[in-house]
């Protein structure tokens, strides 16, 4: 059972668009079993959503700006970093928050339309929080690989000959 769950998750992790009928064939189980597995995985929140990885630049002239912000915070008595992290991750501008070891505490990824917009968010919202001691902002200049996927992988065509022994 668990093995099947893992196999199913690994398949849709790479391609959320895979139809249950195809998954059923790949795993050599019935389509009904696949739907049942999906249902139970959704129920126990192992599957949290089905998102699509989009290269917006291919469709519209929409410049997305991403910044990685290193945040030093004052942990709160009793709740440690969790309460502060929650105050931060509730903002829709914030796409990811991680608690880090090392020189700072929280790594916060922020998305916006312009650098100005992100700058405003950081100075007016993020830095303004009582428990935030300092921020260091790094803007992303180019994305090479995102979530395990190489962007603009021009050279991924099949280099094999058409028929070999």
């Amino acid at each position: 059972m668990q093995e099947q769950e893992v196999e199913l998750l690994q398949l849709i992790e790479k391609n959320a668009n895979l139809e249950p009928s195809k998954i059923a064939k790949l795993m050599a189980v019935s389509e009904e079993e696949v739907r049942e597995l999906l249902r139970s995985l959704e129920e126990k929140k192992a599957i949290l959503g089905y998102s699509t990885l989009i290269d917006w630049a291919k469709v519209v002239q929409k410049e997305e700006v991403t910044a990685m912000v290193d945040v030093k915070v004052q942990p709160a008595r009793g709740s440690g970093f969790d309460k502060v992290a929650e105050r931060i991750y509730r903002f829709p501008e914030v796409k990811a928050v991680y608690l880090m070891s090392g020189a700072y505490d929280l790594s916060v990824s922020v998305e916006g339309k312009t650098m100005m917009e992100i700058g405003r968010f950081i100075s007016e919202k993020l830095s303004a929080l009582d428990s935030v001691l300092s921020t260091t902002t790094h803007f992303v200049l180019k994305r090479y690989k995102h979530d395990g996927i190489i962007l603009d992988d021009e050279d991924d065509n099949d280099k094999r000959m058409v028929v070999t022994p």
Binding site: K22, L26, M27, M161, V162, V163, T164, P165
Partner: protein, 388 residues
């Protein structure tokens, strides 16, 4: 003016592979989805490639020992013991070769005398019959049958043996049928082998790619190690066809004779490939396991798709080939493959190029991305619907 052909009679009489003709046909066409490829669609795992860069930077650009780098032979020895429970001495019983192809050639040249017969199981890998001939032996084919799922049976083997029989080439799991003999089935074959004192060249290049039972290596069977040359390599499970690296293990006497021929005809296997293989042996497991799992899923997919459209296809136990029957269409293998290519731009290989008992079947390689496989199945179904 030149009056005679300079070609040797033997080389001149070799039949060109039927695959070659079909390749020429397919290569001229555009937008072909190829299920005709006998090699992985995966690129060599990055860590193996990166390790070879490192070796080049360190200046490893010279020859290695004739038998291959000792480090690599030691890793191969550990790997075979860990994976298949067969134990070979890295110093004396292992040779690293230019692909399993060269290992087959060397093993035959080291053991076969003129007039001796070598049994070749068909449908089988296209190189066996010609390499037996080039080594001076007489190839004798055994035609396995669809009703046995193209598995060699002790009866078929017994029937092919004559007083001149020296050896048998066994390929398990098999190219092109995907047939994988279980441990029990191999033991029955081994009994006949022992009774007639045969040498076995066991081509296990697809050993890692088994999906039903764990692979039984032929030399792991009782009394078989002393009469078996195990042949394998990095091409298939490690996705390294272009590196040209394989190996053979076996009794010291045979391996050392192979090394002697190798020393005069090849010097050594490519050094840079040996370094990549070292990384493959040491740290390749997770990459290889990932590929195996993908092949297994695609196998499930292609087998059920083919059966659904009316091309009966048993579940192959290993390798990355499905071998469906196309008899329902009323076409010969060659016509099926050719018309499918012309009408739907999908390349499969006619079964008869692998031996006469392959007539009525085609080989479909599922070492192809799921996306391509899906589209290929749609096209083949369209083609078959017009025929059945």
């Amino acid at each position: 003016m030149k009056k005679t052909s300079f070609l040797s009679k033997q080389a001149d009489s070799l039949q060109p592979s039927g695959i070659r003709r079909f390749f020429d046909l397919a290569a001229q066409m555009e937008d072909v989805i190829s299920l005709g490829v006998g090699e992985p669609d995966f690129v060599t795992p990055w860590s193996f490639i990166e390790h070879s860069f490192h070796a080049l930077e360190q200046g490893y650009t010279s020859y290695t020992e004739n038998a291959g780098m000792l480090d690599l032979r030691e890793e191969i020895s550990n790997y075979l013991l860990g994976s298949f429970g067969v134990n070979y001495d890295a110093e004396k019983e292992i040779i690293v070769t230019v692909g399993a192809s060269q290992a087959i050639d060397l093993a035959l040249r080291a053991t076969v005398n003129p007039g001796e017969e070598v049994l070749v199981v068909e449908p089988g890998f296209v190189a066996y019959v010609p390499t037996v001939s080039l080594a001076g032996g007489t190839p004798v084919t055994i035609q396995t049958r669809p009703e046995d799922d193209f598995k060699l049976t002790p009866e078929l083997l017994e029937a092919a043996i004559t007083p001149r029989t020296k050896a048998i080439i066994l390929c398990n799991p098999n190219n092109p049928t995907g047939a994988a003999l279980t441990g029990n089935e191999l033991v029955k074959v081994a009994e006949v082998v022992e009774k007639h004192d045969l040498l076995v060249l066991s081509d296990e290049i697809y050993a890692e790619l088994t999906y039903e039972d764990v692979h039984t290596s032929f030399p792991a069977i009782k009394n078989m190690k002393e009469r078996t040359v195990l042949i394998s390599g990095f091409s298939k499970a490690f996705a390294m066809t272009g590196w040209r690296l394989g190996y053979a293990t076996g009794p010291e006497e045979i391996i050392q004779t192979m090394v002697k021929i190798h020393q005069f005809t090849m010097m050594c296997a490519p050094t840079i490939a040996q370094h990549a293989a070292l990384e493959a042996m040491k740290n390749g497991k997770s990459s290889v396991d990932y590929m195996i799992k993908s092949y297994e899923q695609r196998r499930n997919f292609i087998v059920s798709s083919l059966n659904e459209m009316g091309l009966s296809c048993p579940n192959p136990g290993g390798a990355f080939y499905a071998f469906p029957s196309i008899r329902e269409t009323g076409l010969s293998s060659a016509d099926f493959a050719e018309e499918l290519l012309q009408e739907e731009q999908v390349a499969v290989v006619p079964g008869n190029v692998f031996g006469e008992s392959g007539e009525g079947f085609v080989r479909c390689s599922y070492a192809t991305s799921l996306k391509q496989l899906d589209e290929a199945m749609r096209r083949i179904k369209r083609f078959v619907d017009r025929r059945i």
